[in-house]
């Protein structure tokens, strides 16, 4: 049972001095950390190679904090955050960022809602002024909230209802979680989205948007001193709110029954098996199990040539694709995922039996020491390569802190990964493979595939800038 993200009580936050964190000496090079009097926690990631800076504000609230019947309100409010304040007209924030050569966006997930701008470093004060302004002064106009509700409904149509894989994922989550709100889609159930109002949005904003429930990340061409000075100037005056921090959520009871689901749809071209298993997440001071699960996922499915499932299933002609995935950045227990697309000629039952046999063999044999060593080599190299993207590192810290980890937990993560032993991996494999808390889903083509024109794309599509590390629903 893991409610671990309760922020410190407000009184303690108010008493906290405005100083850089005590662990400064242990900070990785270029990383600094401080907390303002009003409780706003901040991380600065220095990278002066280009005159670019990224500002992100992560609120520690997401769709899993919603009340039943109001699904989608966290994401809908994210959209409405662009509808202006007393100082800034609806839509003007994005337009101002763009007119200054920058880009901005926002995204919502189960555990957090985040806003960011990427802009020339001399424009940092501009975006900090606007972002801090909407932390306290949002004004949603009469004309704006209904049109925006249509926009999020169109977003649902585009992302979910037009995609049988996304629809299936939504239903699998609903089955995976008996009681925890991770069983509800981030974007919301359509019927409930249609009923969301401006009053709902304002109530959500008033309850959760406050500096003591947020994390500020400044990454790029800025010094820690300048970043702190600007943070104090713009965010310092924003008043904290008592009770803004995340409250306890409904938790999962013990799950004793493996579940199976099947769905056919004419829009599906190839059968796919997706199995999810309920497993622990990363917790403050306690990330060892999550590290072992992370390495386990890499060993099982991280490479199309050398991973366990690739060798056993792809190279032997039993599967076209295999995958294993785990992301421990979650407030509450999350899922480990194993997926497979059978090779033509193999029945789905045969493919699933082959998968189960491969997993059982791994459980018996344990990890190959040479493969484990190669994975760790890559973990260490990732520490070098990731310095190439300040924006990417901003996600690591923003997501980590917004799910309740401390900065030292984020800093220590690579070392914890590197310390994972074969015994840890065996234990993690038991956790995954011995579990009854799993859902096995088959997404299947319908009998009669639709006819389509057999012709194709030309020249490059217009360059769309997408954020590589953008989780959840975006604006």
């Amino acid at each position: 049972m893991t409610i671990f993200t309760r922020a410190a009580p407000l009184a303690a936050l108010l008493a906290a001095p405005l100083v850089t964190g005590p662990a400064l000496a242990e900070m990785p090079k270029g990383i600094s950390h401080f907390t303002l009097d009003n409780g706003l926690e901040a991380v600065v990631i220095e990278d002066h190679r280009a005159p670019v800076v990224v500002q992100m504000v992560w609120y520690k609230v997401g769709s899993a904090d919603e009340q039943p019947g109001k699904s989608g309100i966290a994401h809908y409010l994210e959209h409405l955050m662009f509808k202006g304040t007393d100082k800034v007209a609806a839509g003007e924030l994005s337009k101002t960022v763009t007119a200054n050569g920058g880009m901005d966006n926002a995204f919502t997930s189960y555990d957090f809602t985040a806003y960011f701008q990427r802009i020339a470093s001399d424009r940092l004060p501009l975006v900090m002024e606007m972002e801090s302004d909407r932390m306290a002064n949002l004004k949603i106009g009469e004309d704006d909230w209904q049109a925006e509700r249509q926009v999020v409904l169109e977003e649902r149509s585009q992302r979910t209802d037009s995609d049988p894989g996304a629809q299936f994922a939504e239903e699998r989550s609903a089955v995976q979680f008996y009681n925890h709100p991770y069983g509800r889609p981030v974007i919301g159930w359509r019927a409930e989205m249609e009923g969301l109002t401006r009053d709902d949005a304002n109530a959500w904003y008033d309850a959760h948007y406050a500096p003591n429930n947020a994390v500020l990340i400044i990454a790029g061409d800025v010094t820690p001193e300048r970043a702190k000075e600007l943070a104090q100037e713009y965010y310092g005056p924003v008043k904290p709110k008592a009770g803004a921090e995340r409250g306890p959520r409904p938790q999962e009871p013990e799950q004793r029954s493996p579940r199976r689901m099947e769905r056919s749809d004419p829009r599906v071209a190839e059968p796919v098996l997706i199995r999810t298993i309920l497993v622990p997440e990363r917790n403050p001071g306690d990330q060892k199990t999550a590290a072992a699960l992370t390495v386990l996922a890499e060993l099982l499915g991280g490479s199309a040539q050398t991973s366990v499932l690739a060798r056993e299933l792809m190279l032997t002609g039993k599967a076209l694709f295999v995958d294993a995935g785990y992301d421990g950045l979650s407030v509450d227990p999350t899922t480990f995922t194993i997926a497979l697309m059978p090779a033509p000629g193999l029945s789905n039952a045969e493919a699933e039996a082959a998968l189960d046999a491969a997993l059982e063999k791994f459980r018996q044999d344990g990890p190959d020491p040479a493969q484990l060593e190669r994975v760790k080599t890559q973990v260490r190299a990732a520490e070098v390569y990731k310095k190439d993207s300040a924006h990417g590192r901003a996600y690591d810290y923003g997501q980590g802190l917004s799910i309740g980890l401390g900065i030292e937990d984020v800093n220590d993560w690579p070392e914890i990964l590197a310390a994972v032993t074969p015994e840890d991996i065996r234990a993690a494999a038991e956790l995954v493979l011995d579990s009854k808390a799993d859902v096995t889903g088959w997404l299947l083509p319908a009998a009669a595939p639709a006819a389509t024109p057999a012709v194709t794309p030309a020249g490059d599509a217009p360059a769309a800038s997408t954020d590589p590390a953008n989780p959840g629903e975006s604006q």
Binding site: Q158, R159, S162, R267, R374, S389, T452, P453, T456
Partner: protein, 443 residues
């Protein structure tokens, strides 16, 4: 935008941060040219190679050969089978991705300084000694066939393919680089070797590197990686494509609550004197995200879509001005009508001073932000060489944007933006709008 923020809006008009990117143009001892941006702050090097011609160099009856060949470059070479090759790369923590598009086969590699030479040996082996083992061919062929089947049930792919087929006639741009189920099934090992000869040659390649390497070391490295390639490709580069697009609407029936829309009309080449005026016009019309007219009219004011956008699609051998969106079946007719209206309004009315100023400020301000990492810099520098831009373009490009006037924008809009020349392809069950007979999708 009012009061308190006015000072910052003014700042936007002031000079932009000009931290010059210093591009070294080098020639290796073996005579291969490359561009380099040195930065020794992180101990790794990013290297991008682009082989010009891409999948458009496929022989007409071997569509999909270059794509399949490209996917097999990492599936075994020299003395190593696919597993051994991947293990060797993992042990060095180096990576190389091999991708092909209509215009180029792109290799994006990175290696730690501590074992850069060993990583270069692996890359050389992949490019010069691919094995094309029978089991690897069959495995990857099955994956490509699966992608072809998946694209056939994906409404966006269906729309893009139908538009390309109408646009590009006999040119390879008209068909998928993946090939068809039939063409891919028929490919032999000899076809893959022929595909390799068509594209993996020294006269096809442009080279860019960024990171912890100096000019001398880079020269030796690229000779090692590329020196063993043949001097010249076995066939000429692709011919320019002739755009055969007609205005109108194509509807492809697809059972979905939403209609996917893709649309295009003639564009202009980068060599056109009005190219930058068109870049500015596109930003204001539909390329500028939330600040564009189409986004404002169709999403912000009416909630008809989650997103709509346009862009100048400049490929090496042909160009269009294109865009896309998705909208509910019962609303898509209104959204398409608004696109046509905005097209006409732009051609007739031009742009306001504020729109022009904002667009120029965005386009010039955003440009230097792209160069914030070794991998990004290597990729941009290779792309510039592929399309034939000079190295000093990074320092002259913004002046070209700044020089665009409202008259320039109006001139290019009047010349190019014709609502009746837009071909819309709609995939869904749209209401209140139907396709014209001229453009039934070919099969």
């Amino acid at each position: 935008m009012i009061r308190a923020l006015a000072t910052f809006v003014f700042v936007a008009l002031a000079s932009l941060p000009a931290r010059a990117i210093e591009i070294q143009q080098i020639t290796s001892p073996g005579g291969i040219k490359a561009w380099l941006v040195e930065d020794h702050s992180i101990p790794f090097t990013a290297l991008t190679l682009m082989f010009k011609g891409g999948a458009s160099l496929d022989a007409p009856d071997k569509r999909g050969a270059i794509n399949l060949m490209t996917a097999l470059l990492e599936e075994g070479s020299g003395e190593m089978n696919s597993v051994q090759f991947a293990e060797a790369a993992e042990a060095l923590a180096t990576s190389a991705s091999f991708n092909v598009s209509d215009d180029a086969l792109v290799v994006s590699a990175r290696a730690l300084t501590e074992n850069r030479d060993q990583a270069a040996d692996l890359l050389r082996q992949a490019l010069t000694q691919p094995r094309f083992d029978a089991d690897a061919i069959e495995r990857v062929r099955a994956q490509v066939q699966s992608s072809i089947r998946s694209e056939a049930t994906d409404p966006e792919s269906i729309a893009t393919k139908a538009l390309a087929a109408q646009a590009w006639g006999d040119h390879p741009y008209a068909t998928s680089i993946n090939g068809t189920a039939e063409s891919v099934a028929a490919l032999t090992r000899d076809d893959l070797i022929e595909a390799q000869k068509r594209i993996l040659a020294r006269d096809r390649v442009v080279v860019a590197a960024a990171g912890d390497i100096d000019a001398e070391a880079l020269g030796l490295l690229i000779d090692k990686v590329l020196g063993g390639l043949p001097e010249a490709g076995s066939v000429p580069l692709p011919e320019p494509a002739k755009l055969g697009l007609t205005g109108g609407v194509t509807v492809i029936d697809w059972d979905s609550p939403q209609t996917v829309v893709t649309f295009a009309q003639p564009g202009l080449p980068m060599s056109d004197p009005d190219y930058f005026a068109a870049v500015v016009a596109d930003h204001i019309l539909g390329g500028g995200g939330f600040s564009s007219r189409l986004m404002d009219e169709i999403r912000e004011k009416r909630g008809l879509t989650y997103g709509v956008g346009t862009g100048l699609a400049n490929a090496l051998y042909g160009e269009t001005w294109q865009g896309g969106m998705a909208s509910a079946n019962e609303k898509v007719a209104e959204a398409v009508d608004l696109i046509r209206q905005e097209w006409a309004r732009f051609a007739e009315g031009g742009v306001t001073d504020k729109e022009l100023t904002d667009a120029r400020t965005y386009l010039t301000g955003e440009y230097p932000l792209r160069f914030d990492g070794n991998s990004k810099i290597a990729s941009i520098l290779a792309g510039m060489q592929l399309v034939g831009l000079p190295a000093d373009y990074v320092n002259t490009r913004n002046a070209k944007v700044e020089a665009v006037t409202a008259k320039d924008v109006q001139r290019v809009a009047q010349r190019l933006l014709h609502a009746d020349q837009i071909r819309f392809v709609l995939v869904g069950r749209p209401q209140g709008i139907s396709g014209d007979a001229a453009a039934a999708p070919s099969n």
